[in-house]
């Protein structure tokens, strides 16, 4: 044991254990593979303990540990997803595209019944634990490859250029996939949270 001041946050087996559930949930959602997620969280905890003396206490332990986990996840995705073909994205997107098309009239403007309505004050939702449960369920409901691209962009915060390079997909394909994912998520949240009338396609 080193003799840090007892008040500063420390990286200990106990603080890591307390973060384990969050880490596992996050890694599983990103990787869609519970065993790989389990291994990765284990590795991350070991790395964090080994590097505990590098933790400067400027960020919270959670932020610091999740940075390690995030980098591990990005490495794993690069290794595993590079070989997914462009046609795999198109194939799994077909039903989402069909559902999206039904929102519009023949002239490609919104149908009156499906025109997006205001979500009131959606910031309130971000404070609500139940919202995050719905949010995670909607994310989990996206097709695997589509979800991976979306989460690389929005949760892991890679640029679309990095994603194209890492996954060997074209920029225009990347834009199509992200549009598809965003709209599916929008429809899912609309149906299951903001109007909560359920939604036929999610």
């Amino acid at each position: 044991m080193t003799s840090d001041s007892p008040s500063s946050p420390r990286v200990t087996p106990e603080t890591l254990a307390a973060l384990r559930t969050d880490m596992l949930r996050f890694a599983t959602l990103q990787l869609r593979d519970p065993h790989l997620a389990e291994d990765m969280v284990q590795d991350t905890m070991l790395t964090a303990l080994n590097k505990a003396d590098q933790f400067a206490g400027r960020a919270s332990v959670k932020t610091w540990v999740f940075t390690i986990l995030r980098n591990n996840i990005i490495d794993a995705i690069k290794l595993r997803a590079r070989t997914v073909s462009a046609s795999a994205y198109t194939a799994e997107g077909e039903s989402l595209d069909a559902a999206f098309d039904t929102l519009f009239k023949d002239n490609a403007h919104w149908s009156p019944a499906t025109r997006p309505v205001a979500w009131g004050d959606p910031e309130d939702a971000l404070q609500d634990q139940q919202f995050w449960t719905v949010f995670e369920a909607c994310m989990a409901h996206l097709p695997t490859n589509t979800a991976r691209v979306f989460m690389m962009r929005e949760v892991l915060e890679l640029s679309s250029r990095e994603i194209c390079e890492d996954l060997s997909i074209s920029m225009s394909n990347c834009h199509v996939i992200l549009h598809r994912a965003r709209n599916a998520l929008r429809t899912c949240l609309q149906g299951n949270w903001f109007t909560a009338s359920g939604c036929a396609t999610c």
Partner: protein, 64 residues
């Protein structure tokens, strides 16, 4: 005039790349007269905030 469907693509791409001047102008003109796409635009912004907040949100302990 852009169709609403085209506008949804531009609004999504605006999250990932800088739109051209022409695209931005067309988008602005459309949003001025279209409530549906204005709502869609706000929802895209909200999705981004939600995703960015996803990691940092407070989570209850499971063993409470």
């Amino acid at each position: 005039m852009l169709s609403c469907k085209e506008v949804t693509h531009l609004l999504s791409e605006a999250q990932d790349r800088k739109l051209s001047l022409t695209e931005s102008m067309q988008l602005k003109l459309h949003l001025m007269v279209c409530k549906g796409c204005t709502n869609f635009s706000a929802q895209m912004d909200f999705l981004r905030r939600a995703c960015r907040g996803y990691l940092t949100r407070d989570t209850p302990r499971d063993d409470d």
